[in-house]
């Protein structure tokens, strides 16, 4: 077995039992790893209707075959569970080194079941696996927990913060302090199991089918990444935050909870300003030549980030132009272990609720949640993390918050997950990916911004509808493979399906083509869909917030437009081989080996 370690750890916290399962290699080849294999295992093992925060839900940490190999960016892992935020499949991706370290310890993944009767952490030192008392770190922030549990240079710490412990449905799983499997509330599932952390030490190697070919493939891939102006220059120099200005100039930077598409102070919070004033150094993930990660410092805090999405959520979406405050909010999200996108978007929703006069009963403790109030934005970010005061009410995300005040329409979510930093009224294909993403409002399930705004791999008219469903399907399928493989999605700015097939073949010993890569991605996309349908997530939830479908963009280059979902969705269903109501047909499922 090449590329895989061949072992899955199964830990039942109710029974305090530890088992090692053999990896089913045929299953692994079919679902690749990470997002694919993890979803298949979860679907086989739990009732998709389960309460996500009950002991019957499981949480799976899964690597791909390329994690832990010398392939550039090969260090990513995924957290798969049923989401407590959306009720859909949750599969959150994270970088750093922890995923690769798990392979070096000898495991492709970990399945955690049940619930411990008191706070525990799992300590893995290759074959030595223990469930240990975590009372000394329970309640502590992510940084301090990491310091305490980090014992060796070959050790990596994955942990939740107080956000996960207190079951915030926006809680993240953090590793190496500030790398996050951020979305869908996966941290709350760990918290519900009384599982604080997983500490991994390992020094093994991943065996490769063809070492020499892999070396050559890695050289080629590294060269392509270096020569490509985006992965070789744009991302390394400015990080993801360089997007702020280009998205704003196109009039699709959601501002004041998606009320507008242009933020007048965009340059104040841009990647350029970040690089000029606050950037200390780059902060790359394991074996990554791109190094988009940032490490920033202000007078008050220093740490990893902020990323583009974070800057948008606490910046334009909350009307805040103070980049220092945004860096601070990012820091506290990482410390409390909560998702920056969902937290920022929930604050923005609260600001609009207040603007409408619906929060008159709320005690703001002197920190008024008004658009543009940077101090209050930071204050309430911390209170969400600690679930105190009005923060407790916001800690379960914008949909639950807005529903509680009778204004569900102000929640800018799809399937309960807060939308990220692009207004779909001006990027029609991207809007279709939001509506059809299996985990809800997400930008990294088919990043159509790439062709629609950035011109990669070719420039498409962002308002054009023709051919967009096909583009979306291909992007979604390719992304599903990349997420399953253990590589970073950002490699796709420079590499294509054929490149991934070549890399995969030399590592695993298969003979795949680019088409096989896309087919595997399609299989993964469909099994996620099947999980959601079985969980009761109906296709009528393949939609966007009413504001984006009915209210014309009021300003900027996208003025006068809405998102034209009804013109795109039928063709998308057809291309997917789903019936008119959005249910996968038996024929397509059989074709994909899922029937």
């Amino acid at each position: 077995m090449y590329g895989y370690m061949g072992k899955i750890l199964r830990i039942n916290l109710s029974e305090s039992s530890i088992k090692v399962d053999d990896l089913d290699f045929e299953l692994a080849k079919k679902f690749v790893g990470g997002r694919g294999l993890g979803t298949k295992m979860l679907f086989d093992e739990i009732d998709p209707k389960v309460d996500p925060l009950s002991p019957d839900n499981k949480i799976i940490f899964m690597n791909g075959p390329m994690s832990g190999t010398p392939t550039p960016t090969g260090g990513r892992y995924m957290v798969i569970t049923k989401s407590p935020l959306s009720g859909t499949i949750a599969s959150s991706n994270s970088g750093g080194t922890w995923g690769a370290r798990l392979k070096y310890a000898g495991y492709d993944g970990i399945i955690v079941e049940g619930k411990a009767d008191k706070p525990v952490y799992i300590n893995i030192d290759e074959d030595d696996v223990e469930i240990k008392d975590a009372s000394h770190v329970w309640g502590k922030l992510v940084g301090e927990t990491t310091d305490i549990l980090q014992t060796d240079k070959d050790t990596n710490v994955l942990t939740i913060g107080p956000g996960g412990e207190k079951l915030s449905r926006m809680a993240a799983v953090m590793n190496e302090r500030d790398r996050a499997a951020g979305r869908s509330g996966v941290g709350a599932v760990m918290g519900s199991k009384n599982l604080k952390a997983i500490v991994v030490t390992g020094r093994k190697k991943v065996s490769l089918y063809d070492e020499e070919k892999t070396r050559g493939n890695n050289r080629n891939a590294t060269n392509k990444l270096k020569e490509n102006p985006v992965t070789g220059q744009g991302l390394p120099t400015y990080g993801t935050a360089v997007l702020v200005n280009v998205i704003n100039a196109n009039g699709v930077l959601p501002t004041h909870n998606f009320q507008k598409g242009v933020f007048d102070s965009a340059d104040d919070i841009s990647g350029e300003t970040l690089a000029e004033k606050y950037l200390i150094r780059k902060d790359p993930c394991h074996r990554c030549p791109i190094a988009c990660g940032r490490y920033s410092k202000t007078d008050k805090v220093e740490g990893g980030g902020p990323e583009y999405e974070t800057i948008w959520a606490f910046g334009a979406d909350c009307g805040v132009k103070d980049l220092e405050a945004i860096i601070e909010a990012n820091y506290w999200c990482n410390q409390y272990g909560v998702d920056t996108i969902s937290v920022g978007a929930t604050l923005a929703a609260a600001m609009e609720l207040k603007e409408e006069g619906l929060l008159k009963d709320v005690d703001f403790e002197g920190h008024e949640l008004d658009f543009g109030n940077a101090e209050a934005m930071v204050y309430w970010t911390k209170k969400i993390g600690s679930r105190e005061g009005f923060g407790d009410k916001m800690a379960d995300g914008s949909l639950r918050l807005c529903k509680a005040y009778g204004r569900e329409a102000l929640s800018m979510t799809v399937k309960g997950l807060e939308l990220p930093a692009y207004d779909p009224r001006g990027v029609q294909g991207h809007g279709l990916t939001y509506a059809t993403s299996n985990r809800g409002g997400c930008h990294v399930r088919g990043y159509m911004i790439s062709p629609e705004i950035l011109g990669l791999p070719e420039k498409l008219d962002r308002m054009e509808l023709k051919d967009k469903p096909l583009w979306v399907k291909i992007f979604q399928d390719l992304t599903a493979f990349i997420d399953a493989s253990g590589l970073c999605l950002f490699t796709s700015f420079a590499l294509g399906a054929d490149d991934y097939a070549t890399i995969y073949n030399a590592i695993v010993g298969t003979n795949w083509t680019g088409e096989d890569v896309l087919k595997a991605g399609e299989r993964i996309y469909n099994i996620e869909r099947q999980f959601n349908l079985a969980a009761g997530i109906t296709p009528d939830q393949d939609t966007l917030p009413e504001r984006l479908l009915k209210v014309e963009m009021p300003d900027g280059p996208t003025k006068g437009h809405v998102h034209y979902l009804d013109k795109l969705l039928p063709e998308y269903y057809e291309l997917r081989g789903w019936d008119v109501s959005g249910i996968p047909t038996k024929e397509r499922l059989a074709e994909l080996g899922l029937a």
């Binding site: 280009v246 990647g271 950035l454």
Partner: protein
């Protein structure tokens, strides 16, 4: 006056915003030349809300009060 906005490393030695005097027949290519900007280093041009790659935008005629953005290859997510 035409307002030209530059981003990322295109700002080096040029600044963030440059004003260019309007004259009849002025194109995006001519503005780039005036700023010693090689359009090969530009990935996206936006002129008065219309965005496209430089080869499709270079012959666009600007208006006396046009707003033009030049972006180098950037990405994120």
């Amino acid at each position: 006056m035409i307002t030209v906005k530059l981003y990322a490393y295109l700002r080096d030695n040029r600044g963030k915003v440059v004003e260019v005097e309007y004259r009849e027949g002025l194109t995006i290519q001519m503005i780039a030349d005036q700023l010693s900007l090689d359009l090969n280093d530009v990935s996206i041009v936006i002129c008065d809300g219309k965005d496209d790659i430089p080869s499709k935008m270079k012959d666009v005629l600007v208006k006396p009060d046009s707003l033009v953005h030049f972006f180098p290859p950037v990405a994120g997510g």
